[in-house]
Symmetry: C2
Subunit: 549 residues, 2 copies
């Protein structure tokens, strides 16, 4: 049985879910669904891996070894070194590997890629610990975001790619009648991969944000070079290792997917991005670098910074709402691209069944909800995780000097397991709408601004203008008024921002579900890509048709 | 019955043909298939239209009237003036019209657009005469290219657009089980149009190259501004008139599609293209202007200049081959973007069943075939048409000074109907491969270079390098050797150029059939667009999904 036949049911189910936008995953998100000894084995693995060279890749002829990752939980280097390759070496390997992969059928490619995801799923616990000790995500998020949820997004890209690669007939006998005679041609139609592709990872979601590009590149026949952030290599190194193993086992060149580690002191990202043979670039990271990537004469897919807004108008249960927002703002210490930053509340307050709650009471209520969450030893450490970068830690601790009224300052809390963890709880600052210079820019990390506007219309207008100028990944809105709901949807959607309405309980605006929610729209300054719309795959290849008489 | 219901069978058939790449058209290309008096009525219409103001548009508040079209057949101005509108007026109208159109269903839009095509089909003869007297195309090409073939491409864009707009469910009830409870969300998914769109036309194919952009824009909900070439307005003005009539009759704002005529002395193209509210641009024309368009931070679709090659290796009937190439090079005097310019022949000659024919004999045979065609009074005038622009006429007549061996010089021939027509027959120049500075650039018009290479491999390599550096819309190849056929396909396809093999009889490399052949691949410097791949429509809108708890 071919790998395509082995995985056809999964592929078909994924394609169906994509069209119907329903819940679907072949990879359970509950760690308990996996082998009982998986966690213990992974703990042993991470211990053995730390302070050693990472020798599991199938790439040879390295120019040296390097690693500079620091665990945000331990605040010491993890000591893993990776092989470093020259740009020339990487490009030459990709060019060679591309040739055969480009003419491999979509069926074979899909089979191999889903098999690779199955192998990756066997490493979810290893990946989780690798993610913890590079990004600062707590265990559960590390497991889910870098494990099953990342696999879901990768499978989604494979499903969308396979659909697009097979949407036209491969060949046809074309006949045009001229009455007296028929003009006949044989035609074939080939999806030609564009060329070598580069996927540039980020430090906070090194797997989730990287695998969509890798799998979209590979299903469409492109050889792929994965350039991780120098501070978050290990989790994606495992994924590349398993992709390479799968390729080799099936007689393909492992260099179809290469890992290209560099050092902060000797970056190779621009060298790769500007190389004439690199035709496709996926990038997650800063707006500054992302804007540079977008100016290159290549096919680019970017996820940059945005400023996410919430709009509070009227609620049926204010406590549930503030608890939900508190969690969204605290989850992974606000280091998610989908974390809420600006909460717009009219000076007229928020309407509740018990009457209007004033702006100040809303701000105080939110601060109390955050304090209640982070001070709860069973919930706080696992929600917050740790702060990935020193710069973020500094930004949060300096936030009190931004201006506005610091209603809740940041502090640290105790993590029983990791005494040295770099932790900062969310800071809450209330602002007047006139203080836009403070809130009109991304303040990455656990920093929440609650902004007093003139009215609900003003709140919507502020959120929309900000999305148009700075971009946004998501918007949360709370209203019990159907007319206002429509107004918020229309206005934010016209700025190409999706809105999540009245989320409470287990629904959080931070989470975008694969197969159902598009992650990013690609329509505003937060990024030009969307996981996974058709463009995310079709831009990676070119339809070429030949005619034969 | 709604227009959607009225035209559903056509839409469904078009979508089916697109997937199967089969021959399909609802618009017969034979003029005889239309009303018997259609031609006579159109002749009367063009007489009445010339030297008058074009008052059939539904746009008001013009700032003035202007027209500067010159008939290449009469070599006098046709005297039609069009209303001129300010950029501010055009943009304001589009913005207003867009609002309602953006929320109109794909079904309603498709119904209106196919109805508009039906109305346009009633004007095919008017459009044919308008095309003749602006572009210089002979009647049959004017009729087919601006009539049924253009309508086919427009319908193709509608079909692809409708498919993409409806590929996901509009809404879903999403349920994720957490074991103890279910997380439920209502979700909707909306294809949001990007905004005002601009379609910039060219002087040689003012309808065929313009309607794909117009109909792709409109099916995806965008208001569209059509900026024709100042020398080729009348044919597309009729199309816009009929689109506006259809919109009005169905209660929509006619300004969803506006005509934006300008004067060569006061161009508005850059003002429109750079306007902040214009988000999408379709362009056909020079590489210089197209490259500028591509640098704008907008969604762009370009068709620029390319250099098309033919490769001669071995043939079963040399006379049939040379006759076919002679026709391809002579059709509309080589003013097609798909006309062959460079014919690569090895110094070893061309293999035929009767033995090898030398390079010189091939060049002489091609020249003889062209002479036989253009000197035939029944075929010559109708094939050549007239030269659209004075600059092209000068280029052809100066070609003898380019260098190389002028085997056949250009001349004029008599057109019985139009004594003053600007006619230039093809010039044939034989070159050595070392004279690449002569053939490595587009020589627009009836100029054919036959280039002596070292071998078939050398011919392929020259054609491929040229396609990669200068772009190409098409490539013709003649070989009876299967290995060489594969080699040519692989090499040219990897430069994203389609190859037409062994065309003789009624098959010409110039013609790309809607629903079957992609026109352009979008993958080489000849342009970034493709009629009609999925990207041609998906890039015009953004998927946005809202979630409701």
């Amino acid at each position: 049985m071919s790998l395509y036949e082995k995985h056809k049911a999964t592929l078909d189910a994924a394609i169906k879910a994509l069209g119907e936008r329903t819940y679907y995953t072949p990879y359970p998100e509950n760690p308990k669904a996996y082998a009982e000894d998986a966690d213990a084995k992974a703990k042993a693995w991470i211990s053995a891996t730390m302070n050693n060279d990472f020798k599991s890749l199938s790439q040879i002829n390295e120019a040296g070894w390097h690693g500079e990752e620091v665990s945000p939980f331990l605040q010491v280097g993890i000591g893993v070194k990776y092989p470093i390759f020259s740009v020339d070496n990487l490009i030459a390997n990709s060019k060679h590997a591309q040739k055969n992969w480009a003419v491999t059928s979509p069926e074979t490619r899909a089979g191999i890629l889903i098999e690779a995801l199955e192998k990756v799923s066997k490493r979810f616990f290893d990946i989780a610990y690798a993610t913890m000790h590079t990004t600062g995500q707590a265990f559960m998020m590390s497991f889910q975001a870098s494990g099953p949820h990342a696999n879901d997004r990768a499978l989604e890209a494979v499903a969308m790619g396979y659909s697009e690669l097979t949407r036209f007939v491969k060949e046809t006998e074309w006949v045009k009648s001229f009455g007296k005679f028929d003009l006949k041609m044989h035609k074939d139609f080939k999806p030609m991969p564009k060329g070598i592709s580069l996927v540039i990872g980020c430090s906070t979601f090194p797997v989730w944000n990287t695998v969509p590009g890798i799998f979209a590149d590979m299903i469409t026949g492109n050889a792929c070079i994965v350039k991780p952030h120098p501070k978050a290599i290990l989790p994606i190194a495992i994924v590349v290792e398993e992709i390479q193993n799968t390729l080799k086992e099936n007689g393909f060149d492992a260099h179809i997917c290469q890992l290209a580690v560099d050092a902060s002191s000797a970056p190779i990202t621009k060298l790769l991005a500007e190389h004439k043979d690199v035709k496709i670039i996926d990038f997650t990271g800063s707006s500054e670098f992302g804007n540079y990537i977008e100016t290159l004469p290549k096919t680019t897919f970017t996820e940059k910074a945005g400023v996410n807004s919430m709009i509070l108008d009227s609620v049926s249960d204010l406590k549930a709402v503030l608890g939900n927002i508190a969690f969204s703002a605290s989850l992974y210490s606000g280091q998610m691209c989908t974390a809420p930053q600006n909460i717009f509340v009219s000076k007229e307050g928020v309407k509740t069944p018990e009457g209007v709650v004033s702006f100040d009471d809303v701000v105080n209520g939110l601060s109390a909800a955050i304090t209640g969450l982070v001070d709860n030893p069973k919930a706080g450490p696992g929600t917050l995780g740790a702060i990935q970068a020193e710069a973020t830690y500094k930004r949060v601790n300096d936030a009190k000097n931004l201006g506005g009224n610091v209603v809740l300052d940041t502090k640290t809390i105790k993590n029983e397991e990791f005494a040295d963890a770099r932790i900062a709880t969310p800071v809450v600052i209330s602002l007047d709408k006139t203080q836009s210079s403070i809130y009109n820019t991304e303040a990455f990390g656990p920093i929440v601004f609650v902004i007093k506007t003139d009215s609900i219309e003003d709140s919507i207008s502020q959120a929309k203008a900000l999305a148009e100028s700075k971009g946004a990944l998501t918007c949360g809105a709370y209203t019990t008024d159907e007319a206002i709901k429509t107004q918020i949807a229309d206005e934010m959607n016209s700025a190409f921002v999706p809105v999540s309405f009245n989320f409470t309980g287990a629904g959080f605006i931070n989470s975008h579900a694969a197969f159902s929610d598009f992650h990013m729209t690609g329509g505003n300054p937060a990024g030009n890509a969307s996981y996974t719309n058709p463009e995310f795959v079709t831009k990676r290849f070119v339809w070429v048709g030949n005619r034969y008489m």
